[in-house]
Symmetry: C2
Subunit: 412 residues, 2 copies
Amino acid sequence: MKAEIISIGDELLIGQTINTNAAWMGQELNKIGVHVYQIISISDTKDHIIKALDEAKCRTDLILLTGGLGPTRDDITKHTLAAYFSSKLIFNQEVFENIKSFLSGRSIPINEFNREQAEVPENAKIFQNKNGTAPGLWFETDGRIIVSMPGVPHEMKALMKEQILPAISAFFITPVILHKTILTFGTYEARLAEILTDFEQSLPEAFSLAYLPKDGVIKLRLTAKGTNKTALTKRMEHTISELYRIIPEYIFGTGEDTLEQIIGNLLKHQGSTLSTAESCTGGRIAHLITSLPGSSNYYIGSIIAYSNRIKEKILNVDPSLINNHGAVSREVVEAMAQGVRQYFNTDYAVATSGIAGPDGGTIEKPVGTTWIAATKHQKIISKKFLLGNNRNRNVRRASLTSLNMLRKLIQM
Amino acid sequence: MKAEIISIGDELLIGQTINTNAAWMGQELNKIGVHVYQIISISDTKDHIIKALDEAKCRTDLILLTGGLGPTRDDITKHTLAAYFSSKLIFNQEVFENIKSFLSGRSIPINEFNREQAEVPENAKIFQNKNGTAPGLWFETDGRIIVSMPGVPHEMKALMKEQILPAISAFFITPVILHKTILTFGTYEARLAEILTDFEQSLPEAFSLAYLPKDGVIKLRLTAKGTNKTALTKRMEHTISELYRIIPEYIFGTGEDTLEQIIGNLLKHQGSTLSTAESCTGGRIAHLITSLPGSSNYYIGSIIAYSNRIKEKILNVDPSLINNHGAVSREVVEAMAQGVRQYFNTDYAVATSGIAGPDGGTIEKPVGTTWIAATKHQKIISKKFLLGNNRNRNVRRASLTSLNMLRKLIQM
């Protein structure tokens, strides 16, 4: 059973909006055994929408559209679908009540644009949108399903999760597709490929392996297709245990795990606390850690010491260390880690000091030079990394490298 | 002149990777007057790549492929293109030298996988990749251009910027497309649409307006198409000045401006300094501010006070305020802002305290309740916001709302 995702909106084509919706939908469809054949982003025009629908109907059983359902004049999907099915728009009282209740909950007065959103194609099944004013629309035509959803990510996601995915599972019979992802950190793609040459060649026919590198993390994605779920699952488990045998030192997690999650779980388990002192990463590490619900149980806080004065004043870094070794040095980053750990009275601490760029590099310490320290009480580890010449990438990589160093320290 | 972007990789279809490449390419192509007709994400299979190429050739003059050029076995684009053009792969010494020099610069030993990357289709023009091992490939066929690039974002971007975009501009004659984006903050989409009803109806034929809401920012994108750049530009300027006349209180910038950039420029201009005290936003504001090169000139640092103890100890918040009003209150957030400003001795400070969720809400203070304060010396403004029930969205919205409040204070 194949599906196609059609994302509608000129903002996607001119790159003003990144198509995060399609990625999320691909993930969710995959989980229920729907094979996404392709994803296509098209313009906000009637002709393009109709052409895309016609083409998609020839190759797939399920077409999911997002976008163009808003209250403004550039939103034409609903009218186009009504025309496509030669259906007319009728006022739907239930949709109108939902719009009124949504808006009143946010103290927003209803207006004529919202009232028009209660008009829906006569042949559509309606999915009420609890998080916005445009309902989801479900059309059945020649055994195929066409679904239209708003493009606002959290509205689309709630509609999919709560109503549309269950409806798809009920309508179609789907095959078994298994994906397992093993997460690695600490080496580079070509080196991993070299180590895994024999492993890849001995993979069963139904299996495939992909390498997905990002900001230092390399995801290894194993895919298995078949009909016998039990046999496939068993084979997958065996394949994964092989990977753990071959590259144990690089694997830090699986699936959607993140370094911040793994650290959070370890700290919760130990009942330990953490603080951070960030210079070059400027709050990125704190942001990653606090993105998790419940992080206030182990994460006490952070000092973002962007100026040397703060490194000295709050983190108690001896000014002579900065004078003698520079702010980007083993001595200073270790002092920062110890300083913040003592200041916040935590079990663990991590500190960063580096030259994120684009300015500030020297021949001795080029842009990308980053010192990271992780400490647990009296124990401290620190290391220098040469990351690269792009500021934002350096910040991302330094943050993940810090978390990986902390993880290793916790697991020592 | 129309272009199509083909993004290759199963990771896009199963949603493991978000297609940021296509958005960036769309933006860059648009700037040089290339109209991106559609963006399509397809699987890592020979058949699908060939089908997509055949279809794209029927409707566009320029096809840009990314992905599938890596050193591993799942990378098949190069072989597929060679087969598509009935061309053979030949070893290219120049490419090999580039690979060797790239790897040696990172102290990575060359291996057989990398050596194979030096084999390129005989009919391709080569663009050397300074940031990786896979070169860009440029094919000319029946007056159409097909370009293949690696999928690693920073490799693709450097190749496009430095070599491929200039080559496209040299090869094609392109029409005039103007995009101008006006950035607003502080109201919601349907309300803006209502205010702008007459404005929209009086737009010239060649103009269109789109609303792009995200995390509280609503981007208004004006597009104009034509042949006479001077006339179009003049008309665009007039249209934009109309917008500034109608909604001055909501507009904070244009184009790719961000609140953190605007604040950075204002602070630099004034020679003022800034510090932050973040509770619910957990480092997100600091991360946004320090994402800009040169931010160390005005941004001194931050206290991320995730625990009440830190609010009292470092920020000097009177414990009785927390006891009497709760951590999420006007009294505490104002004390945090004043505390951090005095502690870091800065001109400005911003503080946040809120219930990001999913837990911690009460009937009186539901999840999403967020207090924000901005201060300049003795002057302080603060406000309560009811954001919503999604943790990460709350953090994003609270961060941008804080920056907008700070911007208004600076511009008062």
